[in-house]
């Protein structure tokens, strides 16, 4: 508790538990906020802090402010990986711990509960996902568990909102709760802590040192004895035995449902691989390509923005100042009013093309991608896909888990680069970041490219584009696996149950992510449009295009107009793809340019994140390699494709 004179006292309430048990759903309820919720272990990678929501009547009464903390899932408090140590620090600092466990996996989850109880922290155990337990005819004897642990135990079904108001009240009454007592500390385990209790400040640290946590020992100037690890093993065995006994007594047998059988089928190598092909085809080609980028964008762009909005804007601005629609000559000094008009409503006008791109193209594409992705995430399909691709990804220096950032990269490569934190070794992080930067298109780019490819002639161009990327992906991975020193991580993971996604969560997540994407894209779009318009009215654009023309013509066999796409693509890759929609190209040229723009340099935001997550040298290495790769492969395709398409 932090006491500051004259101010409310802050009570820190930490939500702690194994991954995927519903901590973030509980957090969102308690604080009325939204942090990401997905059906796989490791969704939360950073601690979130919020204030407990209070009703109008509760606000003035309380002398306390309640701070709620959502932590990344952990399996044990001692011997954590580097990124997990933050969670431990929040646990040590917390005034109250809400230990969220899943009613579906008490045999696993209660291990952490016991460990937290042995730390002597004030705690409530929340048995969540109780609705699913009921569906599986699992009967949980709450009283038995509560007595055995010496702790208060509550049931909840967080996604249905059940049991959460009771939890909120429990937290509110925490201070006055006279019956509050620490959990039952296991006698046998306590014996191991006794030697350290005199040396350190608190019981929690003593326990962690007894469990051979080198970092906590060092922080307290204690040298671990040589038998420390065997002590840990003994403590773990005691705890495990106690949990096994408790679960046998308090939890009934499970009855599996048809959804569970479906989940098992997705893991079958043959059925699973076929399903993966169908999922990719449906999601990328049918949904994103044909429906979103084709039908929806077409309608919005041509029937609304180009039919009504742009002419309206041109008339409006044109009635005040003159403009040129596609002039490349310099008018800035001879006729500044005309130059301004051109910047506003010309070919690349800030008020015309930019707005159309943003709202008729970018918005539906990004929203569509995130909606599809949210569905895959919440259904529990992704971890099953991770199992299927583990063998392949291992030979590329990664492991199955890398499929999550790689797929998220299809949304926004920048965000996905941050998610590589859920991978365990430096080597696999580096390879995943490199492959994301080099070969994975972001949602907007993906959408436009899908649309372009579908428009020119169905499945074959799509297959060539996808096949080339896949090949580059595999070959780059193979090479990097050889070149990058170090160990690749091994895939050991929980597989969550298959769940029917909840519509509200799908929408919340999709809207949230789309907002983040658009907030970043909108200013960048305007700046890019402004830069291009200014280049246009000053006549500089003409020079750049003339200068780059021979490179594009000789290397990629492309017309000079495409230069603009490349310039824009360096700022954000999706701009590059958008520019292409206006240029008449042959099928072979279009596929070439789509491949080149996908492989082309990662956008500025991604480069910034790469520098943050890795360093400048690696970011620049990836940036330069992408130039070489994109132009090299483009040159080959430009010469081969005319014979195929």
């Amino acid at each position: 508790m932090s006491f500051i004179k004259g101010e409310k006292k802050t009570i820190k309430v930490a939500l702690v538990g194994n991954p995927n048990v519903g901590k973030s759903v509980v957090f969102n309820y308690l604080t009325s906020s939204y942090v990401d919720v997905s059906n796989y272990a490791g969704t939360t990678i950073e601690v979130s802090v919020g204030n407990l929501k209070l009703s109008e009547t509760e606000k003035p009464c309380s002398d306390y402010a309640f701070q709620v903390i959502d932590t990344p899932g952990i399996y044990s408090v001692s011997n954590l990986q580097e990124e997990e140590t933050v969670t431990r620090d929040y646990i040590l600092e917390a005034d109250l711990i809400i230990n969220v466990v899943s009613a579906l996996s008490l045999g696993r989850d209660l291990f952490l509960t016991k460990q937290l109880a042995d730390m002597g922290k004030p705690m409530l155990v929340l048995i969540n996902q109780y609705d699913e337990a009921k569906k599986h005819k699992i009967n949980v004897k709450v009283k038995v568990i509560s007595q055995a642990l010496g702790l208060d135990v509550e049931l909840s079904s967080a996604t249905l909102g059940e049991g959460l108001e009771e939890l909120r009240n429990y937290i509110l009454n925490f201070i006055d709760n006279a019956k509050f007592k620490p959990g039952r500390i296991s006698k046998e385990v306590d014996n191991y802590c006794v030697p350290y209790l005199e040396m350190v400040f608190d019981r929690a640290s003593a326990l962690l040192i007894a469990e051979a946590d080198a970092e906590v020992a060092k922080a307290n100037d204690i040298v671990l004895p040589s038998n420390a690890t065997s002590h840990r093993k003994e403590i773990y065995n005691i705890r495990n035995r106690e949990v096994d006994e408790l679960v046998r007594e308090a939890v009934s047998e499970i009855q599996f449902a048809w959804m569970d059988k479906l989940g098992d089928l997705f893991l079958n190598p043959v059925i699973g691989s076929l399903t993966a092909v169908v999922v990719v085809y449906t999601f990328l080609f049918l949904f994103l390509g044909v429906f979103v980028a084709g039908t929806t964008v077409d309608f919005l762009e041509n029937n609304i923005f180009k039919a009504y909005y742009e002419p309206f804007m041109r008339n409006l601005v044109g009635s005040i100042i003159p403009y040129d629609s596609s002039s490349m000559t310099s008018t800035l000094f001879t006729d500044p009013a005309r130059a301004l008009g051109t910047i506003l409503v010309g070919d690349y006008g800030v008020l015309t093309l930019t707005i159309t791109y943003l709202y008729a193209l970018l918005l539906p594409l990004v929203f569509g991608f995130y909606l599809g992705l949210a569905f895959l995430e919440d259904s529990g399909y992704l971890p099953r896909l991770a199992v299927l691709v583990d063998g392949v990804l291992s030979s590329l220096g990664m492991n199955g888990r890398a499929i999550i950032p790689l797929i998220l990269g299809g949304g926004c490569v920048t965000m996905a680069t941050v998610t590589t934190r859920l991978l365990s070794t430096k080597k696999e992080k580096l390879i995943t970041i490199a492959l994301l930067g080099l070969t994975i298109p972001c949602s907007a780019q993906l959408g436009v490219i899908q649309g372009l490819l579908t428009n020119i002639g169905g499945f074959l161009p799509w297959l060539i584009w996808g096949g080339t990327l896949f090949l580059v992906f595999v070959l780059t991975g193979l090479v990097l696996n050889k070149l990058v020193p170090g160990e690749c991580g091994h895939f050991v993971s929980d597989i969550p149950p298959i769940r029917l996604p909840i519509f509200k969560n799908l929408m919340q997540k999709t809207i949230q992510r789309t907002k983040v994407f658009m907030n970043e894209a909108i200013p960048a779009f305007f700046i890019a449009a402004l830069v291009v318009s200014v280049l246009q009215v000053t006549g500089i654009l003409k020079y750049i295009i003339n200068w780059a023309e021979p490179i594009l013509a000789d290397v990629l066999l492309l017309p000079k107009e495409v230069t603009l796409s490349f310039i824009l693509g360096m700022i954000r890759r999706d701009f590059g793809a958008f520019g292409l929609m206006e240029i008449p190209l042959s099928a072979a040229q279009l596929v070439t340019v789509c491949v080149v723009l996908t492989l082309f340099v990662p956008c500025i935001a991604t480069v910034a994140v790469m520098i943050k997550e890795k360093n400048l040298k690696i970011a620049m290495g990836i940036w330069v390699s992408s130039w070489i790769l994109a132009l090299g492969i483009g040159a080959v395709l430009a010469r081969v494709l005319p014979f195929v398409l």
């Binding site: 399996y75 044990s76 011997n79 899943s102 579906l104 996996s105 045999g107 696993r108 291990f111 599986h136 699992i138 093993k233 773990y236 495990n240 679960v247 046998r248 939890v251 047998e253 499970i254 098992d264 893991l267 079958n268 190598p269 699973g272 971890p383 991770a386 199992v387 299927l388 583990d390 063998g391 291992s394 492991n399 199955g400 091994h490 895939f491 050991v492 993971s493 929980d494 597989i495 969550p496 149950p497």
Partner: protein
């Protein structure tokens, strides 16, 4: 036999887990002495196990599975 030799559908008892893997599997609820069912196992892919009386499944990479001794029940 080792865990890699187990086929989907078989029930097994885990006899031995090498020390360097123990902690990692332990946290997922898997330890020597446990009984489990193999849910899926592809050629070079991970072995997916479900412990008896448990709902959650655990995937263990090929490389690790090779070092784990089991008996088929």
């Amino acid at each position: 036999m080792n865990l890699n030799q187990v086929k989907p559908g078989q029930s097994i008892k885990i006899d031995f887990i090498p020390e360097d893997l123990e902690l990692r599997l332990f946290s997922l609820g898997i330890k020597a002495g446990d009984s489990a069912e193999c849910i899926s196992h592809s050629y070079y892919g991970p072995v997916v196990l479900r412990k008896d009386r448990a709902f959650n499944q655990v995937a263990i990479t090929h490389r690790f599975a090779e070092a784990i001794s089991v008996t088929v029940k």
